[in-house]
Symmetry: C2
Subunit: 146 residues, 2 copies
Amino acid sequence: MQITRETDYAIRCILYLAGKDGNSAVVGEISRDQAVPRTFAAKIMQKLHKAGLVVSTRGVKGGYTLNRTPEEITLLEIVEAIEGPISINICVIDKNSCERQPHCNVHPVWVEIRDLLVEKLRSYTLDKLINNNPPSGDNTTGRRRA
Amino acid sequence: MQITRETDYAIRCILYLAGKDGNSAVVGEISRDQAVPRTFAAKIMQKLHKAGLVVSTRGVKGGYTLNRTPEEITLLEIVEAIEGPISINICVIDKNSCERQPHCNVHPVWVEIRDLLVEKLRSYTLDKLINNNPPSGDNTTGRRRA
DNA sequence: GTTTTTAAGACAAATTTTATCCTAATTATA
DNA sequence: TATAATTAGGATAAAATTTGTCTTAAAAAC
Ligand code: SF4
Ligand code: SF4
């Protein structure tokens, strides 16, 4: 019940773009900075491109750029771009995958947990991750509040 | 990000015990009733035994029996008996697994999600799953409340 | 002592994960 | 126009995990 390395890498990659001025970089740079194997990173960027999260430019001066602002991209979108729809158990995305589903008391639990995951992942935007926004009510910087 | 077939099977198996009078059965019966491959079910029951969720008796008249009441066994325990400690990403159970962890802004998100999962899985007991307890405030039986 | 059951570990096929490699296609610019 | 730098896409493959099976032993009842 884990995300894959690929998904972790994908988050690193797109978060690197989000943190850069211009939200733009080439695969080589992303790979180096984020310690993601280069050819693997290339494949990952292609997936993020197909999912519409980044735009690509070929040729000299090419590279990848965020297709939206960091406030508008969520962890959920990144995870789903790599792994497909979130499902904690096969029956959650495909009821036909299990003939026991119609009379299974556990099935609704997995649906509930899936919904919980989706909601939580959607609540985190790249923006929040970069600025490490503390939950409201927290004040860990030690600065005085207004 | 899915539970394995083995874990799904394990829940079926132990839930079958919980639903039976005496909370007891042999592997052959469990396997047949729950459509779990027999030798695989045998291995699963061994894991549940090692986790202390069931007791075993060898020989004629042997079999497996719940080691506690269905009210006292949670989904969390079953999942962890099969898959080990819940971790949505490697860094959650082993910080040393990723050298980026000390300055990673995503790490706390996975910890938070792990905690959420643990809490939710712990809230479901075998008892609740058998009786399909509706959330409080629900009244799907159509019976009038007191 | 025969039958029924679990215990434990070796074995193995299938699938998924984690990549790499190669050949285009595209773009800037010398 | 050639060349260099970049992404696009598909084939390939090693490693790890999942999903089982098989075999032998141990225990218990009868
Ligand atoms: S047995 Fe229930 S929980 Fe398991 S796959 Fe089938 S429907 Fe889903
Ligand atoms: S990069 Fe962050 S989230 Fe990913 S494994 Fe490392 S610590 Fe965990």
